[in-house]
Every structure is written in structure tokens, then in C-alpha cells.
Chain length 226, copies 2
């Protein structure tokens, strides 16, 4: 697909680089020449431009572009002006970053298709990661239904998934297990490496130190893990 | 649990507020009085303090604290100094934010327990969300095994999960389905609302416009969705 990403700060540049690596055509735009130079080998195309000026912005190839992302951060005014330009140019799908709640309100009123809050969204993910001891991660699909990563409870160690019967007992879905091993990274520190064991089946053996990846109602999962 | 979060920018304050709402005891620290004032009702405790000064930092209640998070952003020097202080005070679990790759290298050398990259991690999540048309989201548990959210393929519409037989055919796990409805939000814009349908079973009916939440090898999922 074809993307235009405006604002090559940490968020915008990471997104532009990753989409480029995934094989998409990405145009990265920033008004600082040093940023444009810095990223020119990692992003399909980079352009130095002040996107608050309609005369400059009009030259961008919007008609073939699937998604435009306004990733300008600190300068809320520049972000809002740029977003307004994109609305005027009737881009197919417009995603803008919000930096404050007032900023969010303005973007909603402009009816952008999606709003990103990079720092808040990562804070949200980490809050769930840190919330429960022994639970390594919790991804809410809804307030009550989560995907949870947790160590295999002691009473199931050494059994197969089928033998435990906990899938029916607690009405959960098991996606997979992960084996955890200690490895040395490039600078010699010991880090935990998780290795995903494909797709779980009734024959999957649950070993000590393995991580279960489950889906279900959080109350059922809590009871299972006790 | 008990947390100390240093640096109440967008990332630090969102994390502190969310953990407080989840019932944890959180101490939010910042050297700007206006930030401390702004968040004092949303975070369990807030303290105004310059955390690059050992004399000030020593008074924080570290012995009972489970996790310390250094969320200072732009000022890499202050982040690194604060992190060094936390290492010296032998906090139980230390998580620091990295703002650049040089910063990351320094934090790794100091052996912090975990490193967060708020903007980069959100960019990563969104790259997977935007990567494939018709696929609403893709969460990698490993490079090849993903949790994927995608619209029900046409050939399965109107059938039950059991009738389709695709779970065995493609070796995937179905977590749930989500029904999608258009609703008006507070400012009158039409937004898509996703409603999770509990835990999937063989009897789950697949309707047009429903979203399948699947786990499996990305190549098997690609073939299923074609
Ligand atoms: N008018 C403009 N036209 C084009 N680019 C702009 C404009 N204003 C700001 N930018 C660029 O947007 C980028 C991101 O914004 P900025 O660095 O202010 O936010 P940030 O919050 O630091 O970003 P991040 O958190 O993603 O690192 C910067 O590289 C900046 O040069
Ligand atoms: N020495 C220090 N002691 C305590 N707090 C500090 C210190 N230096 C900076 N901070 C605080 O850290 C907070 C976050 O850092 P800053 O705002 O520079 O980063 P940011 O990248 O804008 O953050 P975010 O992206 O999370 O909004 C600020 O509120 C700032 O006041």
C-alpha cells in the first residue's frame, strides 16, 4: 500500500521505517532537513517540506495514497493545520496523532478517521503487563475478555493440556505455550527468551517455567491461575 | 502493588493514572510543580522533586516499592542520572524509558530490568494494524505466529464455526468473534463499535460484517482469509 507520514519524530519515523520494511511505499515528510537526511535510506522516499503551507503540500501525490498519517508531536498547532489541509485535500484515510485532550477534541471535530496517542497507548499496554504478579501480559479485547500470558500453575506441571481438562472447566481457549530460557544478549546481560510452541493441542505438554497464552473471561482466568 | 513513577509527561502520567485506577499504590514524581498539582487527584500520591539529586531521591520509600519506572523523556541526561540513582539504591525492579538508540545502549549497560520505547512500541502496533487491507489488527507472539483480527471470509458467512471446519483445515485457534455496529459518539460522528462475543465454540454463527479473532501461523491465516 502507499502511505504518506508527516513528522519524523520517534513515532513517525519508527512507523515509516517499519512500513517500508514490510514492503509498502512510504513517503516520509519533515520540515527539518537533518531528519530527512537521517532517514533517507530507511524510508522509501523522504521529502523536506513545511506541511502547514498549502502551496507545498499540494505537490504531494495524494491521489494514489491509501493512508496519510500526521505524526507531528509537540507543535499542536502545526499538527492541527496539517490535519486541516489533509481534510481539505480529501485524502482517502486520515490518521492524526493527538498530544493533549484539547488537541483530541479538535481532531474529533475535524472527523479524522483515527486518532493515535503514542505515549498513552504504550502506557496502557504496560499497565496491563505490570498489573498482576505472575501474569506477564494481559491484552483486553473487551473489559472482561482478555488474552493473558501467565506461568503454568503448579498443579498442571507435567500434564498434557488434554489431561488437565482446564479448557472445559474454565471455558478458556489456549492459543499456545512459550518455553522460557535464559540467554546472554550482545552485551553479556542475561535476558529471558520466550519461544512460542506453534499452535496448542490436547497433546501439548505443560512444563515448569512454561508460559500459557490463554483467552477467556478474566474472572475464569483468575480462578484457573490461583 | 506499589509503584514509583518518575516523570509525569504523557507516558508517565498515563501509566501512573491507569495503575492508580487499577487499585495500585502509585507515587508520581516530577520536578515541575504544575505537573504535580495537575495530577494530584488522579494519582495516589504526587511529589515535586528533582530526581537527579541523591539527597532528594533518598527520601522516597524504596524499600516497600515493587517497581520503579523512570519515564523522563526529552532530557536524556536526567533520565540516565535518575536511572543510575535507582540502580545504586538497589530497587527491586527498574524499568526505564529510552528516547534514542544511544540512550538505549547506556540503559542496557546499566542493566535495567526492562526498557520502554513508548513512541516506537505504538508505531510497531500500528504498522501491523495498517499492514494488510481487510485485516484490522495483527499481534505477533513470534515472527510467524500471530493473533489476527479480520472480517469473516465470504464463503463462511451464515455457517457455524463447526460447519466451516476451517479450524482443522488451517490449524488455527479461534478465540472469539466481534460484531461491528455503527454508533454515534458524543460529538455526533459515526464510529464503528466492536462487541466481543465471549469465548468461541463450534456453535458460534459467523455473520456478515463479523470480525474473526484467530491465532495461528501467518501463512495458514493468509490462506484462510483469501
Ligand atoms: N510544519 C511542519 N511540517 C513538517 N514537519 C513538521 C512540522 N512541524 C513539526 N514537524 C516535525 O514533526 C516531527 C515530530 O514532532 P516533534 O518532534 O515535535 O514531536 P515529538 O513529540 O518529539 O515526536 P516523537 O514523540 O514522535 O519523538 C519533528 O521531526 C518535526 O520536525
Ligand atoms: N530531573 C528531573 N526530575 C524529575 N522530573 C523530571 C526531571 N527532568 C524532567 N522531568 C520530568 O519528566 C517529565 C517527562 O519528560 P518530558 O516531558 O521531557 O518528556 P516527553 O518526551 O515530553 O514526555 P512524554 O512523551 O511522555 O509526554 C516532564 O514532566 C519533566 O518535568
Amino acid at each position: 500500500m502507499k502511505f504518506i507520514i508527516i513528522g519524523l519524530g520517534n513515532f513517525g519515523s519508527s512507523l515509516a521505517i517499519q512500513l517500508t520494511q514490510m514492503g509498502h511505499e512510504v513517503i516520509g515528510v519533515d520540515n527539518k532537513m537533518e531528519k530527512v537526511e537521517n532517514f533517507k535510506d530507511a524510508i522509501s522516499h523522504t521529502i523536506c517540506m513545511n506541511t502547514t503551507e498549502m502551496s507545498a503540500v499540494q505537490s504531494l501525490p495524494f491521489r494514489n495514497t491509501d493512508i496519510v498519517i500526521v505524526a507531528i508531536g509537540e507543535d499542536e498547532g502545526a499538527n492541527i493545520l496539517t490535519t486541516a489541509m489533509m481534510k481539505q485535500l480529501k485524502v482517502k484515510r486520515l490518521i492524526s496523532r493527538a498530544v493533549s485532550s484539547l488537541h483530541q477534541t479538535v481532531l474529533e471535530a475535524m472527523q479524522v478517521d483515527e486518532i493515535v496517542h503514542p505515549e498513552e497507548e504504550t502506557a496502557n499496554r504496560w499497565a496491563w503487563k505490570l498489573n498482576t504478579e505472575g501474569v506477564l501480559d494481559s491484552i483486553p479485547l473487551s473489559p472482561e475478555y482478555h488474552i493473558v500470558e501467565a506461568y503454568v500453575p503448579e498443579r498442571y506441571i507435567g500434564k498434557t493440556l488434554g489431561e488437565t481438562g482446564f479448557v472445559n472447566q474454565y471455558n478458556v481457549v489456549v492459543l499456545t505455550t512459550m518455553t522460557t530460557t535464559r540467554e546472554q544478549n550482545e552485551i553479556g546481560s542475561l535476558i529471558m527468551k520466550n519461544k512460542v510452541q506453534g499452535v496448542a493441542s490436547a497433546k501439548t505438554v505443560l512444563s515448569e517455567g512454561d508460559v500459557l497464552v490463554l483467552y477467556g473471561h478474566i474472572r475464569d482466568i483468575e480462578r484457573l491461575l490461583k
